[in-house]
Each structure stands twice: as C-alpha cells, then as structure tokens.
C-alpha cells in the first residue's frame, strides 16, 4: 500500500519513476509501470498572511489569504507549512522580512510567499513576493503587483493568479490551474442547466437558462465555446454556446445526438448521433457541418474524447459486444482497440499528456450485483490500470485538470443527479474533497 501511494505521488508530482506495484492482490492483480519525467520531491513553502496596506482591507484580505493558501495546498507539489508554525511577524515588503525566522526549525521553509494588500479609491492593490529562504544574498524569486476593482471575487482571482505564478515557477514549468474553470450540470427543479465555477468550487453560477434538460458540457480548448446537449422537440441535440456572445449559436440538429467532444485544435467536434438509425460516433467541423461517421457497428456508442496531445485518436464507449466497454481508435475510425475486458465502463477522459485515460468502471456490474462504480486510470501503452476511489458509493465523469495533476469527478450514494456531488482529488487518489453540494453532475475541466 505504501509503495502504491509513493508511486502515485510520483505520478502526480512528476518524478522519474520506474516502479511496479500490485493492486488488490486478492482480486485480479495488475502491475502498473510508470515512467514519468519531472522534477524532484515536494518543496516546503510558507505563506505569510499578507500585511494590510492603506484602507480597509478586512474581508478582501481574508479572501485573498485563504485562497492563496488553499491554492498552494491544492497544487499537490508543495509541502505547505502550517500557518500555526509561521513566525508571528507579518512582513509586507522585502525590507521587513527576516528570512532567518523562516528557514530555521520548526518552519524550515525553502520558500516564503508574502506581501501586502490595500484598498483605496475603490481598487484593491496587491504586492506579492516569493523569496528563497535559503538564499540570503539574492533571495527574491518573484515580485508581482496586481490592481483590480475592490471585491472579494477580485481578491480571490488575484490570489489565483499569484498562486499560478508561484506554481509555474516552482512546479517544473507546468502552468498552475488556479485560474482554470469547471463546467458542470446543475439540477434546477425538474430541469438541468450548465453552470460554471472556479477550480476550487467558489463562484458557482449558471451559464445557460434554457428551461430544459441540458447535460454533457464540454468547453472548447480556447474556452470560447461550450458544447453540450439539450432536450428539445426533436430529442437531445448538440448545442454550442458562445462564451463571448453569451448565447447559443447555430449548430445543425439531425437525429438524436449526445456527448460532444472538442478536438484539441478546436476545429472539429466528435459526438454520438443516431441520424443513421443506430448510435454511432461522428465527427464534424466546429459548426456541425461536414459530419462524417467514423464507427459502424450495431449497438450503443457514446462519450467520445480526443487524445488532447495529438488529436489523432479518440477514446469512446461502445456496447457492440454487450455491456459498455472502453475502446480507442484513430480519429478516422481505423485501428479500433478494446481496452477493458468486462464490467460496465463509462465516461472516458484523456489526460493532457496523452498517456492515460481516466474512466468510471463497475467491474462487477450486473443485475442484482451491488458493485460500486469507481474512478480508474489506465496507461494506454501498457493497458495497466489503477483504482483511485474505493468504497465511497458511485463515482462517474472523471475530468483531468489542465496540468494533469488533478481529477474532478462526481460521487453519490445512487445514480441520481439530485444526490450527486462534484469532488476533486489529486491524480493519485489523495486529497479528495467536495467542491459542490448535492445536485451537481458531469464536471468538465477547462483546457487551460
């Protein structure tokens, strides 16, 4: 178990790891061999509460301090110094910090983030610094200045931006995710609308107001368009909402369609459509024109997702042999490969580096079988998989964060949207916590 945790952490923090682990030795044991390139072990970082500058900083400073601290904790690459261990002094500018206090026990910080936040003239102004505590001669790593309209939301967004700067600088050059968004389905009475929230669950608000059942949100790679499906007079159809225009834009509706997916260049959309009388995977351009069918096999097909790294492969779910299984193929429909060997598989999500597919799997599915549905990650080249959730009810709809270090998913005691909540975890299955209350479903993490 400890070896497994270590390897999974290596996968998340990015270690050079070549290890073999055994999972569920009693059941079908699987070996997972991962070779992942990245930086070293976790950096110990301390975050000082920011010093209130001129004006009444009060609630804005609290929002900022809390957000910055949780962003760095969520990043999964830091050993974050507990605030209770931090020196009582509150340095606001470089002249005020005494690095010796931060580099010795019990703090032992390698890096210190600090700064000041002030409000004046309806603006909130933040100066943020990142210092290398062990480098007494030239300690400054980062100095950033931000100014926005004074509001708690602005204070949170500034904290996200500063956190992303720190993560980018210390995390091996991988951009942080604190400014990313998660799109999801929100149950509103008998209807379902598409909502958006910050990656940490804050700032939840509706995008669509269609008064019907809208599901399967998928944001475009440049975050300019949101594809989803919506129930109308002709059944479920793919819709595209322009985030720039603030309205649904034209997309042809032909036969029942579901589960749209963007190609990484944003120029085509894959989806399942029954226009030929049987659900198959189709690919069209971003406006829904020039649709061409790329599967042709009787039985349900759904949930396509492009390899986000190459755009040249599609993973999807097919019931061509009975219960739904995970398959991959080239994006022209050739070289079909089945990846799972049984149970009930749903909701594939391809990792940003193209190496892994996350999916939901009930390995003991069947009438009367109480099998739980959990989140799994499979390495495509080896077909080895690991299980990330255990004994926590039904999980579904995993979606990778842009940095490939996190997975958001739904969890509930049953298969009803009214009881499902959205959770996030590190891609090794640790640090699970809820982002929403019940009635939230089908999360989709933005591409950047």
């Amino acid at each position: 178990m400890s070896r497994k945790t270590a390897l999974l952490r290596a996968m998340v923090t990015g270690f050079v790891a070549l290890a073999v682990i055994c999972l569920t030795p009693a059941a079908r044991a699987q070996d997972f061999t991962g070779t992942i390139v990245g930086s070293g072990s976790q950096i110990r970082i301390a975050v000082a509460d920011f010093k209130p500058g001129s004006g009444d900083a009060g609630s804005l400073k609290r929002a900022f301090d809390t957000t910055l601290y949780s962003d760095l904790g969520n990043a999964g690459i830091f050993d974050l110094v507990s605030k209770s261990l931090a020196p009582t002094s509150t340095p606001g500018v470089p002249a005020e910090i005494s690095l010796g206090q931060w580099s010795i026990a019990p703090v032992n910080a390698a890096m210190v983030a600090f700064g000041n936040l002030g409000v004046s003239g309806g603006k909130v102004q933040v100066n943020g610094f990142l210092f290398d505590a062990k480098n007494t001669q030239y300690p400054q790593v980062l100095a950033k200045q931000y100014q926005e309209e004074a509001s708690e939301d602005s204070a949170r967004q500034i904290a996200h931006r500063f956190a992303d700067e720190i993560i980018f600088r210390l995390g091996g050059g991988t951009a942080g995710i604190a400014e990313s968004k998660i799109y999801f389905v929100k149950l509103t009475g008998a209807n379902k609308e598409i909502w958006e929230m910050d990656y940490d669950g804050a700032n939840q608000h509706p995008i669509t107001h269609l008064g019907t059942i809208s599901i399967s949100p998928r944001i475009s790679p440049d975050s300019s368009r949101l594809a989803f499906v919506s129930l109308g007079k002709e059944g479920f159809q793919v819709k595209v909402y322009s985030m720039l225009l603030g309205r649904v834009v034209n997309f042809p509706s032909t036969g029942g369609s579901n589960s749209p997916a963007w190609a990484p260049d944003g120029k085509s959309i894959a989806f399942a459509s029954s226009r030929s009388g049987d659900p198959e995977i189709w690919v069209s351009d971003a406006n829904g024109n020039l649709a061409r069918r790329i599967t042709n096999f009787k039985g349900p097909d759904s949930s396509p997702v492009f390899n986000p790294r190459t755009g040249s492969q599609i993973a999807w779910i097919s019931g061509r042999t009975g219960l739904p299984q995970l398959y991959i193929m080239d994006s022209d429909g050739s070289t079909v490969q089945r990846l799972t060997d049984g149970g009930y598989v749903s909701s594939p999500s391809w990792s940003p580096n193209g190496q892994f597919v996350a999916f939901a799997w009930d390995r003991k599915y069947g009438p009367g079988a109480p099998g739980g549905r959990d989140i799994y990650v499979m390495e495509i080249s080896s077909k080895k998989w690991i299980q990330l959730t255990h004994d926590s009810g039904l999980c579904d709809f995993p979606s990778w964060s842009p940095d490939g270090r996190h997975i958001v998913y739904t969890n509930g005691p049953n298969d009803r949207a009214s009881s499902s909540r959205i959770f996030t975890m590190l891609a090794d299955g640790t640090q699970k916590h809820a982002l929403t209350g019940p009635g939230a479903d089908m999360p989709n993490w933005s591409w950047k």
């Binding site: 002709e234 399942a272 024109n289 020039l290 759904s302 949930s303 019931g319 909701s347 579904d396």
Partner: protein, 266 residues
C-alpha cells in the same frame, strides 16, 4: 474550367522564359539577332517544363442528391499534385474517397497544388433535400380537437408500450405483441403519426443510456416499419435516463423505466 486555369497560369511562366532568354542573349554579347528573338525558337523549351508541373484534378460525388442524414461518397483523382485539400475536410491524399453526410447543400471545393506551386481547383455540389415539415391538418376541417389523429385515450387503450430487459434493446415476445398492436392500429388509422420515446432505468452512465434509449426506440420503430407502417409516420426520441416513470430503486421500478413509449406525434 480546368483548361482555363491551365492557360492563365502558364502565361507568366512563358513570359519569364522569354525575358530570361532575352537577357541571356544580351549578356553573352551574341549580338547577331538582337533585333528580336524568334518566339518559335523558344517553343521546344516550354512544353516539357510546364507539362510536368501542371497538376490536374477531378472530384465527383455519388449521389449528388441526397435526403438529410444520408451519405455521399466523394471521389477525387489528381495528377502531378503534392498537396491536395478539400475545404472543410482539410488536407487529404492525392487520390481518395471519403464518405460525408452534409447537413446542408454543400460545394466541395478541392485545391491541388504541385511542387512548383501551380494550383488547380475542382468542385462538386451535393444537394441535400431537407424534409419540409408536413402541414398539420387544419383544425377547421376536422372541427378542432384531435383531428384524424384520434384521441390520446383511444390510442393508449389500443397500443401498449414496449418493455426491455436490462441493458438490452432486443424486442422480447411481449414487446413483439405490443408492436403488432401498434402496427394494426396505425394501419387502421392512416392519419396517425407516432413518436417513440426510448427510456432507460436510472442505473449507469447518463450518456451511454441516451444512446441505449435510441437503440430501444429504433428497435420498436424498425418492427413497426417491418409490419407495414410507412417510415415517415414514425419518429424516435431518446430520453436516456433523464425522464423516469417510477423513481424507486428496485427491479419492478427499473423494469417500468426500461421502455419504448408510443405517443401520438401531433
């Protein structure tokens, strides 16, 4: 069309050759013929150069007229081309076929480019017939109300829904009986159109169940058509697991929800 492009694009090359030849003549100091270059003397130089680089291209579609949802096979042939693109599809092989299903009438525009940069284009138009919504019989002629569709009560008294096994879209014997009843009713009432709703129980993936619901509704539709009902009279909508008839978590309830439901399509 193609020939026109060839001649116009050949012109500048010929002119360049001419200028080049003139310049060469002057530069080498061979003054004997500086009063003029005989164009005929350049003749033999020209054809091999241009003929080898000038691409040709044709594109055809079969059929060129389809109904919405049907497919067309595009077939193209090029010679001397290295980069061939079709608008909307992107770069393609120099010769090839592609099955497409345009949602609207579309001009497929092919551009073939040779190594030397010479371009040639070819076009084919595919016309898509979009079905015009049938005009509902006006209420005035039928005295309002249900018209010749009959009433919902009469329809539901005569036609039973079809139920399915778990994760299946095969018609069971009881389902075949229901379809036979529905077909008989529709043959006896030629004004009736139906919409078949495909439904799934609450277990499993919402997206996969939308596809499974399509298969369920379509299996009932296919059986109706095989029993002699005109295809245009039957429409399908999958609701997946988004609409439940019964909301308890037990097999009796789940069976209730795994169905294809017949309704009048007004």
């Amino acid at each position: 069309m193609t020939q026109e492009h060839m001649t116009t694009s050949r012109m500048p090359i010929a002119r360049t050759l001419l200028t080049l030849a003139l310049a060469l003549t002057l530069a080498t100091g061979c003054g004997k013929k500086k009063s003029g270059v005989d164009p005929n003397s350049l003749g033999p130089v020209e054809p091999p150069t241009t003929a080898s680089v000038q691409p040709t291209a044709t594109i055809t579609a079969d059929p060129v007229l389809i109904d919405l949802g049907q497919s067309v096979v595009l077939n193209w042939r090029t010679t001397n081309a290295t980069v061939v693109t079709i608008d909307g599809i992107g770069q393609v092989n120099v010769n090839g076929t592609q099955t497409v299903s345009p949602a609207n009438s579309t001009n497929f525009h092919l551009t073939a480019k040779s190594d030397s940069g010479a371009l040639v284009e070819a076009n084919v138009r595919v016309t898509v017939r979009v079905p015009v919504a049938p005009v509902a019989p006006s209420d005035a002629t039928n005295g309002g109300g249900g018209g010749d569709m009959g009433t919902d009560a009469a329809f539901h008294a005569a036609v039973q829904d079809v139920f399915y096994d778990y994760d299946s879209y095969e018609l069971r014997p009881d389902g075949q009986t229901s379809v036979a009843q529905a077909a008989a009713y529709m043959v006896a009432h030629p004004g009736v159109r139906v919409v078949i709703g495909g439904y799934c129980d609450e277990r499993g993936s919402a997206e996969y169940n939308l596809a499974l619901g399509e298969n369920r509704a379509n299996s009932a539709r296919t059986a109706l058509i095989n029993a002699g009902v005109a295809p245009a009279r039957v429409r399908v909508i999958s609701y997946g697991k988004e609409k439940q008839f019964c909301t308890e978590a037990n097999e009796a309830c789940w069976q209730e929800n795994r169905r294809a439901q017949f309704s009048l399509d007004r």
